[in-house]
Point group: C2
Chain length 278, copies 2
């Protein structure tokens, strides 16, 4: 059997996958793009040697990334998705009927092209008439907007690497200014097992800018450390409350999961005081 050894220098466990076939291998201006086929996970998108999505379980990540803030907002209409070139986050955003416009900001056009070809069930939504694709730096896009955005969703590669402009205080400030008063922001913030300090740093930086900042997790088998965190922020709404009146069709996310995903208060406090040891 041919093997793929994931290349994640920051993970103390290396993940190895069986490879049935290499469906695509290329180099864009930004990164190496690869699509491999695995007997369990189906097609897998790999960027610079790190697994981004798999056909089998991408819904779990995309649902948890998108639907928490989209339900904490009373009626999200204009949404910005930064990264997520595979289209999965956009697909989930479009499930919300209130949505009128999605700015889909992916720096690497090649990822969109490859995803359309090898992950049609994921990337299918990007051609929706409500979606405007811009191949540019997400940090640039949110600068100097009019405060007309309801939700900014960051679906980048790992914090280490060229995505790091999306994890600065300056970026968080631009995001806040781009949002309406009901506005919401969410970004991945790595694994609670393997990158606890990074999680704390993202939370601390967001708290310098937003009055309400929170942290929720989801168990994701194909991301090193699995216990994946999402850092979310808002200007006035409690992120743990569901504000939308409608419910959407999902495989995993529901109102119970929404509430349960957040770190309990005492555990959150212990984490932020750097008293959680593992």
């Amino acid at each position: 059997m041919i093997k793929f050894f994931e290349k994640d220098p920051y993970a103390p466990i290396q993940y190895v996958y069986d490879v049935e076939d290499i469906l695509y291998k290329g180099k864009s201006d930004f990164q190496e793009i690869m699509v491999i086929k695995n007997p369990h996970f189906g097609n897998m998108l790999v960027l610079d040697g790190v697994v981004q999505i798999t056909e089998r379980d991408e819904f779990l990540y995309h649902e948890m990334l998108v639907h928490v803030v989209m339900h904490a907002h009373p009626e999200p209409r204009k949404v910005v998705v930064i990264g997520g070139g595979d289209g999965g986050a956009v697909r989930e955003v479009l499930k919300h009927k209130s949505v009128e416009k999605v700015y889909f900001i992916e720096i690497d056009e090649e990822v969109i092209k490859v995803s359309k070809k090898f992950f049609p069930s994921v990337a299918g939504g990007v051609d929706d008439r409500r979606v405007e694709i811009k191949c540019m730096d997400g940090a640039e896009f949110v600068k100097n907007r009019d405060g007309d955005i309801d939700a900014v969703i960051v679906d980048s590669t790992d914090i280490i690497g060229f995505a790091k402009s999306l994890f600065t205080v300056e970026f968080f400030k631009s995001v806040k200014d781009s949002l309406t008063d009901d506005g919401m922001f969410v970004t991945l913030s790595e694994s609670l097992h393997f990158h606890k300090d990074m999680v704390i740093e993202v939370q601390e930086a967001m708290k310098l800018i937003f009055p309400i900042v929170d942290l929720y997790t989801a168990p994701l088998a194909t991301y090193a450390g699995n216990w994946w965190t999402f850092s979310a922020a808002s200007k006035k709404h409690n992120l743990r409350d569901i504000k939308t009146e409608y419910r959407i069709d999902t495989k995993y996310y529901n109102d119970e999961i929404h509430r349960q995903a957040f770190l309990p208060p005492k555990v959150y406090e212990k984490l932020m005081q750097r008293k959680l040891q593992w």
Copy 2:
């Protein structure tokens, strides 16, 4: 760098660890026992090629295995720990002051010896005067008891393999008969990511015997599939409620985690109807 490739034929991702040193390698009557040293996780106990515990994160598993049922019981006094030769479960049980007696039933004496030597902070409690060690099959031990046990805690190796006698309806019946009316039972039941059918089967089998059966999870980085499940059962107490009046000293488990760890009702129902897809 020397590498250890975990040998778990049922996991679609293979985990690879750096090896600083091989501290022990031997063969008992039951299995191959190995202790390796990893730069991140410290000493790691490996049985038949599968990681059992690591110095760094064993507390997370042991706390979640032990403290949920031990707090759902109003006053646990006599406890049976089956497996868990490393001693971590026994250590956690002994934190409960109400405990007068722990029957520690480990089939493989060698695992206890090796753990005492290489994991003193884990195995330290097994010499406590309240602990009675019996090197025998746990399924045999619980047969024909007098209904005097408050909690049975199974900390075995994977369900596949020689531990399978601990996952039969017959065993669950013996456990129930060994318990007082307040009695509690908990066992590991593999990963919700990778072994969903096995989780369902354990739950179904336990429901044939116990009036109250429930399922909770914990995120464990060093077990393949990570999203680890624990199947718990009782004769009359709701497992989600905390009944003990005291609280104990833990690194992760607390009353918030106790409640949050259980699968939410709608998600649990979807799982058991085999409608959760991933």
